[in-house]
């Protein structure tokens, strides 16, 4: 309060050397909350930040956009219905990712659904060969009736459930349908330990229960059947 009094009262001898008043900046008016200098500094920095954001944000968005992009659903015929039986798998190779040649191909093991295993009759089961541990290619070993992974020793039973080793969930599957007598393979989906279909997860990610929230489904995958 004393300062305010000093600013307004004329220097009629009341101000001494010790209480010298700082000169008011040009344009000062009573009750201003911000000096002209500060207002310009804030405005300049704000404009600079806006210009920077106009450059950086589109670039970052460009880099992270693929996370939110879902490609076209792809179906590929892998053979006539008569090729597949209930008792064992038949190995098929088809293109999962287009545009990168052989690197985009993947392998699935396909069989007819078996009522003995409690599956709906008349369908086809396509089990992905991608290990649910870290994504190595597993192989169906006919003699054992198991899927075995060469990398870290993961073992799966006939329907793809984990028997041993590090895998965290059963083998992924692909949607199937029959068109013109041909079995067609579609998008990938994952399953819980009870073989309940869920949206596709990457290897190493658990499915079911609380894990559905800790490893949320990604927008780039297709909904589960």
């Amino acid at each position: 309060m004393a300062d305010d009094a000093d600013k307004t009262t004329p220097a009629n001898g009341a101000t001494t050397q010790q209480e010298r008043v700082k000169p008011e900046p040009p344009g000062y008016f009573e009750g201003e909350s911000m000096t002209r200098r500060k207002a310009f500094a804030v405005a300049a920095q704000g404009l600079g930040g806006l210009a920077g954001a106009a450059i950086v944000l589109p670039a970052v968005g460009f880099a992270v956009a693929p996370i939110f992009h879902r490609g076209k659903e792809r179906w590929e015929a892998v053979g006539p219905v008569s090729d597949f039986v209930e008792e064992t798998y038949r190995q098929v190779v088809f293109t999962e990712t287009e545009g990168i040649g052989d690197a985009g191909k993947t392998t699935a093991y396909v069989r007819k659904s078996s009522p003995e295993l409690g599956e709906k009759p008349g369908e086809f089961i396509a089990v992905s060969n991608r290990c649910a541990h870290l994504g190595c290619p597993v192989r169906f070993v006919e003699a054992a009736g198991n899927f075995i992974c060469p990398c870290h020793g993961g073992v799966y039973d006939f329907v793809g459930k984990v028997l041993g080793g590090p895998p965290v969930r059963p083998l992924d599957r692909f949607q199937t349908r029959v068109r013109n007598g041909q079995v067609e393979i579609g998008p990938r989906y994952s399953v819980t330990s009870q073989l309940k279909p869920v949206r596709a997860r990457d290897p190493g990610e658990f499915t079911g229960g609380i894990w559905e929230y800790l490893y949320p489904p990604r927008p780039s995958t297709f909904p589960a059947p």
Partner: protein
Amino acid sequence: MPKLPNLVPAPLRKPAKPGQAGPRKGQAPADLKTSPPERPSDVQRLVAQAKEAPIDVAAWLDQRTGASGFLTGMLFRKVPKGTNWFYTLGSATMFAFIVQAVTGVFLAMFYTPSATQAYASIAHINNEVPLGAFVHGMHKWGASVMVILIFLHMGRTFFFGAYKYPRELNWVIGVVLLILTMTMAFTGYLLPFDQRSFWASIVGININGTGPVLGPYLSDFLRAGPELGATTLARFYAIHMLLIPGAIIALIGAHLYLVVKLGTTAPPWVRAQRPKVAAPTAQLDGADRGNGASAR
């Protein structure tokens, strides 16, 4: 042979003993009047000027940049007693990085970051380009050398206690550099696009994905999609050759600045020495510098 200019800056130079520092100030040498020096010929003057040219250039630059003060401080900074070969591990890591940068630039002249052509372009480098296998080998083995050296450098810093006050920030920068180096090793591994690099990258990306909540999105970001696809390789290549090298260069600059600014630490087995208390008068005249002042 012309006398070399004295490289040691004046403040660090040993003062001359009395009677050896040349003629006293303000007095011409005694023989100047009896035998004055001959005037040099034009040729001699030109030669003398030519000899001065490098110094003139250096002075021209120095006058405009003020670099000599900075360089003197950096190159003639004091290092503690006990400094040994372990202190060269940081520079060794930086040299490994420089080798990677140089060989990487030349590999980029022949490499094609396309899923269908990458393997063929690496085969072309190895089999047909002159010295291609050598440069590729330097880059490949140099990557391992850099990772090994950066870990040894971190071990040295840790076991010598060189991360403590006031050098914590430099430790933090060093950890970021370590992470960036590992990211370089990870992204570079995919580029040859052979079976080994393909499956190693798939496993690496999937390990990234096992992080809860954000992991799956990180995997999608790295692959640019739900599966390893056409843009994955280009993305890894851009991260490997543009994004991270820039960050590494900037952080090495900050790392070195702090090293020069804060100095290095003595190894832990060197005991701190208290400076001896100077006798009040004996050294002020400069005649007795042999005792106290040289105790360090």
